[in-house]
Subunit: 251 residues, 2 copies
C-alpha cells in the first residue's frame, strides 16, 4: 500500500500544483474531489490516472478501482491538495480529453463567449450534456473547464461531454460552411427564440454575464435570438437562457 | 449629516443582526448591499427604510434618495454589517413585502419545496420574474428569501416579485379548488413536459436538489412532468429545470 504522510513529498507538491490553470494545461491533467465525482470518473474507463484517499476514508465497494493506482494520505495531505473547506477524503488525478473541433462527428454545439463564473460554465456543461449536445466550445475569456468549481458544477458531465477551447470566429465560420445554423443571443436585431425552427444540427452562442456576446461574433451568426422578458427583471442568468434555448432548439 | 464611527453604536449592532434569519423575521426588514441592488430598491418606491453609505463612497446622482434617511459610516462599520468580503460601500435596510396567497389576483405561481441552495432560490426568483409568473411560494426547508446570497442572485427581482412562505399542501389544495393545474416535477408516473398544453394560469412545483419534490406533494398534483435527458447526465440543476418549464408552460 502506498502511503504518503508529508505535505512536503514531491508527489503532494505536484498534485497541489494542479489547482492552477497553468499546471493543468502543462500536464493535460486535472484534480477532482469527492465520492460522487470520483465514482463517476471511474465509470468512464480510461480517464482516471490515480486515486488519492485519506487514511480515514473508506472506499465504497462499488468503486471500479481495478488497475487504478491508489495512494493513501494523511488528512493533512488531503487538506493541502483540496480546493474545499471540508474535503470528503477522496480525490483523483484525471486526464483531460483531447478532442479537436474537426473530430466531432455530429454538430450540435454550445459556443460560450467570455463567461467568467465557474458555476455558470459548469452548469452549462451539465445542461448541454442533458440536452444531448455534441460538444461545448469555450472561447476566449471563459473560466477554465478544469477549474475545481467548474468540475463540481458539471456534476460529472465533464467526464463524458466533449469540452473544447477554440477561436469562436473560426468555429462559427466553419459551421456556416457546413450549412449548420448558428444562433446568437442578443437584444438587438434579433427575433424571439420561439420563431426559430427546431433542427437536428445547430450551434447556440451565449456570452458574458454582463456584456453579452461580443458584437463581432453576433455579426457572424445566421440569426440572433432573444428570450422575451415578461416581468420586470432585466435579464436571465446565462445558464438559464442557455438551458431554455438548447431544449427549445433541438428536434 | 448623520455619521456613525463606532461599530459599538446601537444602530450598527441592530443592522448587523439582520444577517440572521431570526432578526429578519422579527423585524420584517432585511439588509441589501451594493450599488446595483440599492439603486433597484430605490426605484421601487416604498421599500427602502434607510440607506447606509461608507464615508469614502460616492452616491451616483441618479439615485432617487428624496425623503430617504441616509447615514454615513466608516469603512470599519460597513465591513461589520457586510456579508461580502469586499463591500462596495453602500447598503440599505428594506421592508419585506407582506403578501398573502389569498391576495394574489392572478395565479401563475412557482412552488418550491425544500431547495436549500441560496443561489438556486435567488436564480429561480429572477427567472420567475422574467417568465411573468405572479408569485414564488417557498415551502418548508427552503433557504430564506431575504438571505443576502439569495438577494444577490435575484439581481433585484426580490423587490418586485411577490415571494411568499407557505404550506405547500394547503396551497396545492387551494389551487386545485380553483381549477388551476398544478404540475409537479418527478421521474416516476410523469409525462414529458412537452406533452402538456400551455396555459394562462398554472402552478409549477419543483423540489430539493438531491431528493426532488416530496412524494406526498407529488401525489397531490394535477400531473407530474419530467424533462427528458438526452445525454449521460443524471439530472438538470433545479433552477435550469424551473426555467425551461416556466417558459414552456406559459401561454
Amino acid at each position: 500500500m502506498k502511503y504518503i504522510e508529508s505535505v512536503k513529498n514531491q508527489k503532494v507538491k505536484q498534485w497541489k500544483k494542479l489547482l492552477t490553470k497553468k499546471e493543468r494545461e502543462l500536464t493535460g491533467t486535472y484534480l477532482i474531489e469527492g465520492f460522487h465525482l470520483v465514482e463517476e470518473a471511474l465509470k468512464e474507463g480510461d480517464i482516471v490516472r490515480e486515486v488519492i484517499v485519506s487514511i480515514e476514508a473508506v472506499i465504497p465497494a462499488k468503486f471500479k478501482l481495478e488497475g487504478t493506482e491508489v495512494t493513501y494520505v494523511t488528512n493533512e495531505v488531503m487538506n493541502a491538495i483540496s480546493d474545499t473547506e471540508t474535503p470528503q477524503g477522496i480525490a483523483a488525478i484525471c486526464d483531460q480529453k483531447k478532442i479537436r473541433f474537426e473530430d466531432l462527428s455530429s454538430k450540435k454545439v454550445l459556443l460560450i463567449d467570455a463567461v467568467q463564473d465557474p458555476g455558470n460554465i459548469g452548469t452549462m456543461i451539465r445542461t448541454a450534456d442533458a440536452a444531448g449536445m455534441d460538444a461545448v466550445i469555450l472561447g476566449e475569456g471563459c473560466a477554465d473547464a478544469y477549474n475545481p468549481k467548474v468540475i463540481r458544477s458539471t456534476q460529472g458531465s465533464i467526464f463524458h461531454m466533449p469540452v473544447l477551447k477554440g477561436n469562436l470566429t473560426e468555429i462559427i465560420g466553419a459551421l456556416k460552411v457546413q450549412n449548420i445554423p448558428v444562433y446568437g443571443t442578443a437584444l438587438e436585431k434579433a427575433v424571439s427564440y420561439d420563431q426559430v425552427e427546431k433542427s437536428e444540427t445547430f450551434a447556440l452562442l451565449v456570452g458574458n454575464e454582463g456584456q453579452g456576446v461580443d458584437k463581432k461574433l453576433l455579426a457572424q451568426t445566421t440569426q440572433n435570438l432573444y428570450i422575451p422578458i415578461f416581468g420586470k427583471s432585466e435579464s436571465l442568468n446565462v445558464g438559464i437562457a442557455a438551458g431554455i434555448l438548447m431544449y427549445h432548439l433541438r428536434k
